[in-house]
């Protein structure tokens, strides 16, 4: 029983962290049909920024360091939008390819700039909680709580603010939104900024839980793509459910059958979904 509870607790917490990164991916896809491969590098760069601002010589309070990291990530994201994706007219295939290239370039440059030594953001909430034999670190709980708060904030932003409503309008029908006076280009910028901010928080949390190095964004991004594909590209609710599902599946398969099997199971689920329901559980047909 304790083992089952440990599996569920670990899986939910990990799933929530993946969810935050996956939300940024699905947001951009939902609005612009852009599969942003640079998202993983935004996660990584934000973690480095939060580390150098909050832990390095500057020693800013962590909240401020995180805010600065989010601003920096947003700036990089908007630059990518204008330099990489806009000239491609947000074409799904071209953006996909150019995104992969940019991602490799940023990662390689980061090795040269930041060097080979892994670093980590110290836990904001140190210690471990023992819930009747089920262990979970306070930092993981803190990260999970922050991810839930941000997911709720994203929901409120999309449903109750003017820029959020504009984003949803463009997502639902770009031409109709244009006719209503909504600038799609402005909405795209907002989407990139919001997506980058989510990546920044995710990066800082990952940096405190798993350390920071130039490769740190690769696995979460891969997981994000699996999650977004299962949940349905562009579907916020689908992403949340799929993230929790993948978190639990990884935890259960990894604990019961060994770590290597987790990825195999993830991809098996993904293939099954693609065969049975290509648009994902809650997604819509991309061709329309």
């Amino acid at each position: 029983m304790t083992l089952a509870l440990q599996i569920v607790t670990s899986g939910l917490v990990t799933g929530l962290i993946y969810m935050l990164i996956a939300l940024g991916v699905t947001l951009l896809f939902g609005i612009m049909r852009v599969v942003n491969f640079v998202h993983g590098e935004l996660v990584m760069l934000s973690a480095f920024a939060a580390y150098f601002l909050g832990v390095g010589e500057l020693g800013l309070p962590f909240g401020l360091a995180l805010l600065c990291a989010a601003v920096a990530a947003a700036a990089v994201a908007v630059i990518c939008q204008y330099v990489l994706f806009r000239p491609m007219h947000y074409d799904i295939l071209n953006c996909f390819i150019i995104g992969i290239g940019a991602s490799f370039a940023l990662r390689s440059a980061s090795w040269a700039i930041f060097g080979p030594e892994p670093i980590a953001i110290p836990a904001i909430v140190p210690g471990v909680m023992n819930l009747g034999g089920v262990f979970v670190s306070n930092q993981r709980l803190f990260a999970a709580g922050l991810c839930v708060a941000l997911a709720i904030a994203l929901y409120l932003f999309l449903h109750y603010t003017r820029p959020g409503k504009a984003m949803r309008a463009v997502e639902q029908d770009r031409e109709a939104a244009l006719l209503m006076g909504i600038s799609s280009e402005q909405v795209y910028v907002t989407a990139f900024v919001v997506s980058a901010a989510l990546a920044a928080v995710g990066g800082a949390m990952l940096g405190s839980l798993f350390g920071i190095d130039p490769e740190m964004g690769a696995e979460p991004l891969l997981k994000s793509f699996i999650i977004v594909q299962i949940g349905g590209m562009g579907s916020i609710a689908g992403t949340v459910i799929a993230a929790l599902f993948i978190g639990l599946t990884d935890s259960a398969t990894g604990t019961l059958f060994g770590g290597e099997l987790a990825f195999i199971i993830d991809f098996a689920i993904l293939m099954l979904i693609l065969i049975v329901r290509p648009r994902g559980l809650f997604g819509y047909d991309v061709s329309h």
């Binding site: 083992l3 440990q6 599996i7 670990s10 990990t14 490799f104 990662r107 390689s108 090795w111 060097g115 080979p116 030594e117 892994p118 670093i119 980590a120 110290p122 836990a123 140190p126 471990v128 023992n130 262990f135 979970v136 670190s137 993981r140 990952l206 839980l209 798993f210 350390g211 190095d213 130039p214 490769e215 740190m216 690769a218 696995e219 979460p220 990884d250 935890s251 398969t253 990894g254 604990t255 060994g258 770590g259 290597e260 987790a262 990825f263």
Partner: protein, 388 residues
């Protein structure tokens, strides 16, 4: 431009060309291909290796390698294999086709798949890799292992046996690749020979982020000591952190680590008490200090202690060339088998014929460190067992 100036320029150009031609005639260069991960999950060790090898060759080339009347210099060509065996094979095939006959290879998954190819063309391969008979055997007389890896267990387990009498049950954690499988197999065998019971044998995907699943399995097996075997870099810190967060109170032992980075990422509390085999925390002799000082001056802190482990590699090759008085890989290999020298760790030798049937695997003392009060401290140095 008047005629006088033109003549002057012509004379200058001729002199430069003559000088270059003379230098070209004198330059005898030995090309060494280096296949290592400069990106991907093994990049941290790859970049440290690249920088260290570059410095080593710089030092060697300052004097050169004298073979008869000729002075040779070494030239390294680095290739990023991304820690993907298929990439490593492609790189080595290209190098061998281009005539390169000296290879330095980092990582078991990158070294094992190419050893038959280097052996076939009589190229000398120096691997920093875990391996057994598939990398070190009489079938591969030109394949040398330049750092002790899985074999460290021959020295370390007897020391654990005599130092920590309460340790009876061992759990093993390794990456799910060539290095991990080799380390796991060898370490379990050596642990058993030393009277320990192996109670867990877990694998993880190199570069994973979430170690909770594999750590949960290990904790459930209730080992007294968990040996991280071929786990390197950030994976060590994350594995240790996950084990401690899940309430594991026993000992953790890991190796080939950058002690300071390990503590930084794992956190001081989680890292406390961890035993680090084949790990030098601080320089123990003048040569080690010189390497550390050079690194800090060129790249700034922190100094990755992994650099110590790879430092000797080009010097061993230079030693072989001098001993053989030849640039022929076959003759150099002959000179190196069973050779002894003073390296960065003191007396070193190619040996282990008793295990592999050929003296091509490095043997030397194994430094051991421990994390105490959040800081790595040099604990002891275990001599290489006489019967191995």
């Amino acid at each position: 431009m008047n005629v006088k100036r033109r003549r002057l320029l012509l004379a200058g150009a001729s002199a430069t060309a003559l000088g270059a031609a003379k230098a070209y005639a004198q330059a005898k260069v030995i090309a060494i291909g280096v296949s290592l991960p400069l990106t991907g999950p093994g990049a941290a060790t790859g970049i440290t290796t690249q920088r260290t090898l570059e410095r080593g060759v710089e030092v060697i080339n300052a004097e050169g390698v004298q073979i008869g009347p000729d002075r040779y210099t070494l030239k390294l060509a680095f290739y990023d294999n991304k820690y993907v065996p298929a990439e490593a094979v492609t790189i080595v095939e290209k190098l061998l086709a281009d005539g390169t006959r000296f290879l330095i290879s980092l990582g078991s998954g990158n070294s094992v798949p190419v050893v038959a190819k280097t052996t076939a063309v009589k190229a000398l391969q120096m691997s920093y890799a875990s391996g057994k008979a598939h990398l070190t055997s009489p079938d591969f007389p030109l394949s040398f292992r330049v750092a002790p890896t899985n074999e460290t267990a021959y020295a370390v387990y007897p020391w654990v046996r005599s130092t920590y009498k309460d340790v009876q049950k061992i759990g093993h954690m390794n990456p799910s690749d060539e290095a991990g499988f080799t380390e796991s197999e060898d370490r379990r065998m050596i642990a058993e020979k030393n009277g320990f019971a192996n109670v867990a044998n877990e694998f993880f995907k190199r570069g994973s982020t979430d170690f909770y699943p594999v750590a949960t399995r290990l904790v459930n097996a209730k080992p007294d000591l968990i040996d991280f075997g071929g786990t390197i870099g950030r994976d060590q810190s994350l594995g240790c952190k996950a084990l401690r967060e899940l309430g594991y109170k026993g000992k953790i032992m890991l190796g080939y680590s950058d002690a300071k980075s390990f503590v930084e990422v794992a956190g001081a509390d989680a890292a406390e008490g961890t035993l680090l085999f084949d790990t030098l925390v601080d320089p123990q002799n003048a040569q080690q200090k010189e390497l550390q000082d050079w690194w800090l001056k060129k790249y700034g802190p922190p100094f990755p202690s992994f650099a110590y482990s790879v430092w000797d590699t080009p010097f061993i090759l230079a030693l072989g060339m001098k001993k053989a008085q030849s640039t022929d890989p076959v003759k150099i290999a002959e000179a190196l088998r069973g050779a002894k020298w003073d390296g960065l760790y003191g007396p070193e030798a190619f040996g282990m014929k008793s295990v592999y049937g050929i003296d091509t695997s490095i043997t030397r003392s194994i430094p051991i460190a421990v994390i105490k009060g959040g800081k790595p401290i040099q604990l002891t140095t275990v001599p290489w067992p006489a019967d191995v």
